[in-house]
Each structure stands twice: as C-alpha cells, then as structure tokens.
C-alpha cells in the first residue's frame, strides 16, 4: 500500500461504487481498505439477506438499499443514477465487494480517469496478470471476450471485469436495462454504439476461496453468451 505517498484530496470528486449482495464476510475489510484513499464510497446493497445491511450501517459509507435482490446490473444502474445526480462528482469507479480487486488498482484508475481524455477505463486481467487466472476461467473469459469483440466491434482483452472507471458525462449517456450479470455486455454495446472513448489498464484479481465461490459461475457465462447472441440479432 502507498497511502503516505498519495495525495487523496484530489479524489474528492471521485465516487467508488460497490454493488454487493450477501457479502457480510468481506465487506468490512473491502470498505476499510477503500476508505484509506477514497472519501466517497457508495455501497448498493442489492437486497442482502445476511448481516451485510447491519454491517454497512456501522461503516462510514453511503448506502443505497434495494428492498429486494434485483441483480448486479440493477445495483450498478442504481449507483450510476445516484452518483450522476451529485453536482460536484467527476468520475465513478466500480469495485467488486468480494475483495477480488486491488485497492492500488482503484487508485491508479482514479488518477487515470482524472487526467486522461478517455470516457471509460476498463480493467483487464489479461494485461500483466494473466497467469493469476485459473485455467478454466481464463479459457471461458477468452472465448467470451473474442465473441464480444466480434459482435460489438471493440478491441478489449477482458470484457467482463468489475473494475472500471467512468467519467460522469459518459454515465449520463449510458442507461442500462439488464439487471443480471449480463449487464456488462449491454454496457459494452452502448459504449460501442455511442462511440465513447476507452482504454484498458491492468487490474490484478486476488482469487480467494471465498471470491471464487461467490464469483461468476459457468451458468452466468451462459447468460453472458445468451445476451451476446441477443445483442447480435438486435444490432
């Protein structure tokens, strides 16, 4: 960690968006790590049925509470809608609640989105950190990425990574409808259609036993492929 070396005052206009569902085991740690660098953290509790909502009350974060579980896409959309209403906000970084992402990467993304001209910065596990990804996951991700790039006419090395940074102006243009994991495909389709500028930055993923059981299953991979087929025919 490099908390002493970083001037975090410039992150005042940056919001960290953490969608979460039943993350009581890790949410404390994830938020406390993020709080070292970021003042504005929005957690969207997507109808958790465990102790997550009680834990969030004791943390110094803004909490948006869905009354029922709607899905990750819906949680991200709600977060976008809330943050885009805040006057002085400049950018949003989406960060998974399960502790898979590195906070150092989020800091890098924050610096980049403030200084670069791109509308969106996508995180990629395939730049520098490919070997950290389990084999099967790597294979599935590569297939999904290849299909996504062909269908959406994009050039990304990792299309379904939770760590992303958005300029607020870009958020106003993107309105998501998909509520489940497949929202990432819809997001990419909108980015491609609207001609928003983007680039990729490396993002490391810390695969723990907890995060692999909580993360995207093969069933969700099927949903993503299904959404890509729908996108292909609705172009």
């Amino acid at each position: 960690m490099f908390s002493e070396e970083i001037d975090t005052s410039k992150f005042e206009q940056i919001w960290i968006l953490v969608p979460c569902f039943n993350e009581s085991k890790v949410i404390n740690e994830t938020i406390s790590e993020l709080s070292k660098y970021f003042q504005n953290i929005l957690v969207v509790d997507d109808g958790s049925t465990d102790n997550t909502s009680n834990l969030l009350k004791s943390l110094n974060v803004t909490v948006l509470q869905h009354p029922i579980n709607l899905g990750q896409g819906a949680a991200v959309s709600s977060g976008f809608e809330f943050i885009s209403r805040i006057d002085n906000s400049k950018a949003v970084i989406t960060f998974d609640a399960d502790g898979q992402h590195s906070v150092n990467d989020a800091v890098t993304f924050a610096n980049e989105i403030l200084s670069s001209s791109e509308d969106i910065i996508f995180g990629s596990r395939f730049i520098h950190h490919e070997k950290n990804i389990p084999f099967i996951k790597r294979l599935v991700l590569k297939i999904v990425t290849k299909i996504s790039n062909v269908i959406l006419k994009m050039n990304l090395s990792d299309t379904h990574n939770g760590l992303k940074a958005f300029k607020i102006d870009a958020l106003d243009k993107i309105k998501l409808k998909t509520s489940n994991y497949a929202f990432e495909s819809e997001l990419l389709a909108k980015v491609s259609k609207l001609g928003l500028s983007y680039r990729e930055l490396p993002s490391d993923i810390i695969y723990t036993e907890y995060s692999t059981t909580k993360g995207q299953s093969l069933r969700n991979g099927m949903r993503i492929l299904e959404s890509l087929v729908v996108l292909f025919f609705s172009r």
Binding site: L64, Q65, H66, L70, S77, S78
Partner: protein
C-alpha cells in the same frame, strides 16, 4: 355429455369471448377467432378441416392442428418472455425509486439532527 358437445360448447364460448373481449393487438383477436372457428368446424365436420388443410398444402387436418398448436405455443412463450422482461423492468424501476427516496430521506434526517 359427449366429447363433441363439450368441445363444441368450448369453441363457441371461445369464439364469443374473442369477439367480445377488447384486445390490445388485432393479431391476438384474429388468432383466437381463427382458432375457435377451426375448432368448431372440426367438431361439426372434420372433413371440412381436412379440405382446408389440403388447400393449405397440409395433408391432414390433424397435422394442421399440430402445426398451429406448435406455432401458438412458440408465440405464447415469446409473449410470456416479453411480459416477464417488461415486469422485471418495472420492478427494477420501482425498487430503485424506493432505494433513492429512502437514501434522500435518511440524508435529510442526518442534516436536521443537531451534533
């Protein structure tokens, strides 16, 4: 009551229902009218249905019913999917609205509270 009579009553009821009920789509109305007429015809005289199916290029009336049944099931499935997705979207909007309102209310409470 014989099966013919039961089905006959059912198809008459369906025909009347399709004529009386207001439909959002004219296709749904026409589909129900056409289906109930065909059903009624098959009860009255199956050979007429065979004639109709032959004129449409289908050998037997039973085959025509099978094809129409499959098409109906497929269209119904699509209609249901569309309905579900529309309902899901409405629930999402409502839940988001509630969540945002709750947060606004809590923020207002915090601002009013003295230190």
């Amino acid at each position: 009551m014989t099966p013919d009579l039961t089905f006959g009553i059912l198809f008459i009821f369906l025909l009347l229902y399709s004529l009386v009920r207001p439909f959002q789509s004219i296709f749904s109305k026409m589909f129900l009218i056409f289906g109930s007429c065909l059903g009624l015809l098959s009860v009255i005289n199956i050979e007429v249905v065979d004639e109709i199916s032959r004129s449409l290029g289908v050998e037997r009336g039973a085959d025509l019913y099978l094809y129409l049944g499959l098409i109906t099931s497929f269209l119904f499935f699509l209609f249901l999917l569309n309905r579900f997705s529309s309902l899901e979207s409405k629930i999402n909007k409502l839940s988001r609205h509630i969540a945002l309102k709750d947060l606004e209310r809590e923020s207002a409470k915090k601002e009013v509270k003295p230190d």
